[in-house]
Amino acid sequence: MYLDLAEHLASPSPVDSVCITSAFSHTDFHQFCPSTGRIYQCKNTCKALVDNSCRPKTRTALPKHGLFMLGRLVQVSKNYRSVIRACMEDMHQAAVSARDPALHSQYSTQVSILSAMELIWNLCEILFVEAAVAGPLLLRLLDWVRLHVCDVDNMVREVLSSENPSKHELFWNLGNTQTLTEMELKWQHWHEECQRYLQDGTFASNSHMESICKILLGDENAILEKKELMTTWYHFLVTRLLYSHPTVKPMELRFYAQSSMDLFLGGESSPEPLDTILMAAFEFEMHQVIKECSIALSNWWFVAHLTDLLDHCKLLQSHNLYFGSNMREFLLLEYASGLFSHYSLWQLGVDYFDHCPEYGRVYLELHIERIPLNTEQKALKVLRICEQRQMHEQVRSICKIMAMKALRNNRLGSALSWSIRAKDAAFATLISDRFLKDYCEKGCFSDLDLIDNLGPSMLLSDRLTFLGKYREFHRLYGEKRFSEAAKLLLMLMTAHIAPCSFWMTLLTDALPLLEQKEVIFSAEQTYELMRCLEDLTAGKSDKQKFQDDDVETMKVEMLRLALARNLARVIVKEGTLEGS
């Protein structure tokens, strides 16, 4: 439902694919989905609606700003209604063009539900939101009925309103500039005149005119006779009030409403849900309205937004719920939670939760982790939302999930960057080990860019530091900066940055440096290297030595030889006086 509403507000172009959300069930919702472009449009418009309705809350309601606030709120209310109407239009179009009869009836049902929603909202706007606005209530109710009752016979309406047209116009025009009491006086005067005409028998010859006169006098029975022209009891109510009590005050409505409904339905049919809702509105029972709407509509959109609006009008303040959060927040939480099951509307849900001061944050924390992260893009989006709200736990959790996913798909570089972002040392160690293993097997590194640019994040885990430094060693070697490379290599072993299992590889890496024409390792460094080699070989048990294949033993032999030779050369070099 929410999808339709905002979607249709955005674009006037014909609907290419329609999202159906039956007010009754969610199954329909999953069957049809609008194209992605539409989603973004609707997201923005829905967001606009959210901002529209929620931002006023932050302003304090100072008396002098009262009217301004009221104006804003009425505007917001009208916005909501126009959204509903736009949706109705599009749904109607869809119904007309639908070839499948089942689809057609589905769309038609939607249209009637939307129509009912707009009817209720409009009445609530008149009675609750615009309550402080001066001016005759009945006028607005008249407009309301005219707007919604489609089947009024225009000709009869003309006849009904043509009687004393000049007097009528004058009467209503004056209404804007005069107070209610003055209006009432004038109306009384006019009423008495009509009465006189009737009693004088001026219309006795024409029964039609007589009945019209009776209607004008507000005679209930006369009006009731024309029942078939008025489709609903509230039409009857407004008509009746128009002719019997046009200066009716809001608080008096309830009496007339109840009797109108009873008279109109006449015990033939029982009130339907819509009737109950409207009656509750006429009785100014806001909570009842919300409750009945919650029951009748299977979607939280309507009650959540209506309650939010009423809350901003400061009409619901006196009722705080047992929960500790108020009705507004309660309904918004329900609505927003529902949004999270949609693959893109969850983003709107985030905004809604932001506007729930008590539980919004917790609800968001719980929901945001459950959004399926199908793509990296989506994960980044979710992360950005979490980071903006300092939800560090969730950030860590999501990064860990992405790292694990990447690792399972053998994307080591991606896995590493995710685990760095998650500050997950254990995982980083695991991945670094994998990198090193890969290197041993293939002789080269994958994802060089990442490893080269680790920077301070290298310090997250020892293994990661080693990986970074080891790669640096290779780089230095590649740039022929041999002495620096040599120093680094040695440091990796002596500072115990390198894991013992890797020492053999490192020593083997030292071989080419030892075999260079130029002497690179100093005597001290050579002694260190020899010590490392001895540590390594001594550490091996006899059994291990026995299992070592020829390659291993040859390596050790070669190393010993190279080290010895290097030592020999360097002693000579260092012992030689410069210049000689």
């Binding site: 009754f24 969610h26 999953h30 299977s298 047992y322 917790v362 459950r370 959004i371 959790s397 694990m404």
Partner: protein, 320 residues
């Protein structure tokens, strides 16, 4: 307002004892008396069988999904005294660990909050509860609580991870010291709460209210309040909601949700803990919500097999 979204035909050859959605609600794992565990992809109302896991030699009682940060991991427990942990590697599901340390049927498995690491609690008919912790490299460490419940333990459920002193910012990389807790229900009609102290598990609380075997316990997710909530259901047809208002966890008070006409098998909380699902021998699944005055109201029930909705509010759905 509740409607059935999907019905999955699992093709299990015998009774289905458990069905669990994964973390994201995209996959469904089911287990049955036919000794198999099946995994379905249920996105967009569809049902695609992903895996049919065989390895148990008796009816499988429960399945539990681990947190996705550890990969795709599923635990299952069975009458054959085994707990099997399955993992998805390179697109295929395989057995990654098998625990056979119990002397009798293992009735329940539950993964701990991910903050604690990868830990699985298992409750068994031999009265013991074992805790399997993953220590790395395919190794699992076992801790056993013997005689947790006399006759047998039927259910285990972990408390959500609460960060102590959460007002103070924890330095990154350092693991905060959580107080691990879980609840268990047993054949001694009791619900017990266990707490880890100095590496040892101790019985912290005994909750008495049921008059028959406790079949399931479910610790509600935390919504930021200092209160804790546990739901328990029993052979006696009653479902109790236990709440504890103080943070130290000392005084638990029960509230009767409802007395059903038959045994109640399972209770399960929604993510934000505002809806409780209850299923029982009366062939119904009912959803319950706490109303404004603290009473629990049933918001729907779904009749078994019909896939229909007999909502409390059904009669008023026809609009003008």
């Amino acid at each position: 307002m509740v409607s059935v979204i999907n019905t999955v035909d699992t093709s299990h050859e015998d009774m289905i004892h458990d069905a669990q959605m994964d973390y994201y609600g995209t996959r469904l794992a089911t287990c049955s008396s036919d000794r198999s565990v099946k995994i379905f992809d249920v996105r967009n109302g569809g049902q695609i069988l992903i895996a049919d896991l065989r390895g148990h030699e008796g009816p499988v009682w429960q399945v539990a999904w681990a947190h996705p940060m550890y990969g795709n991991i599923l635990a299952s427990c069975s009458y054959d005294r085994k707990v099997i942990i399955w993992k998805e590697e390179n697109g295929t599901w395989e057995k990654t660990y098998e625990y056979t340390g119990h002397d009798s049927s293992v009735n329940s498995v539950c993964w701990a909050p991910h903050d604690y690491g990868l830990i699985l609690a298992c409750g068994s008919s031999d009265g013991a509860i074992s805790l399997l912790s993953y220590t790395g490299d395919g190794q699992w460490e076992v801790k056993k609580i013997s005689n947790a419940h006399t006759i047998g333990c039927n259910a285990v459920s972990w408390a959500p991870a609460v960060v102590p002193g959460s007002l103070i910012e924890q330095p990154s990389g350092q693991k905060p010291n959580y107080i691990k807790r879980f609840a268990s229900g047993g054949c001694d009609n009791l619900v017990k709460i266990w707490k880890e102290e100095d590496g040892q598990w101790k019985e912290e609380q005994k909750l008495e209210a049921h008059s028959d075997w406790v079949r399931d316990v479910a610790w509600a997710p935390s919504i930021g309040l200092p209160t804790s909530t546990i739901a328990s259901c029993s052979q006696d047809g009653r479902v109790f909601i236990w709440t504890c208002d103080d943070a130290s966890g000392n005084s638990w008070s029960p509230k009767l949700l409802h007395k059903f006409t038959d045994v109640v098998w399972h209770v399960s909380w929604s993510i934000t803990a505002n809806i409780l699902a209850v299923s029982g021998g009366d062939n119904k699944v009912t959803l319950w919500k706490e109303s404004v005055d603290g009473l629990w109201a049933c918001i729907s029930d779904v009749n078994k097999g019909q896939g229909g909705v007999s909502a409390v509010t059904e009669g008023q759905q026809n609009e003008q």
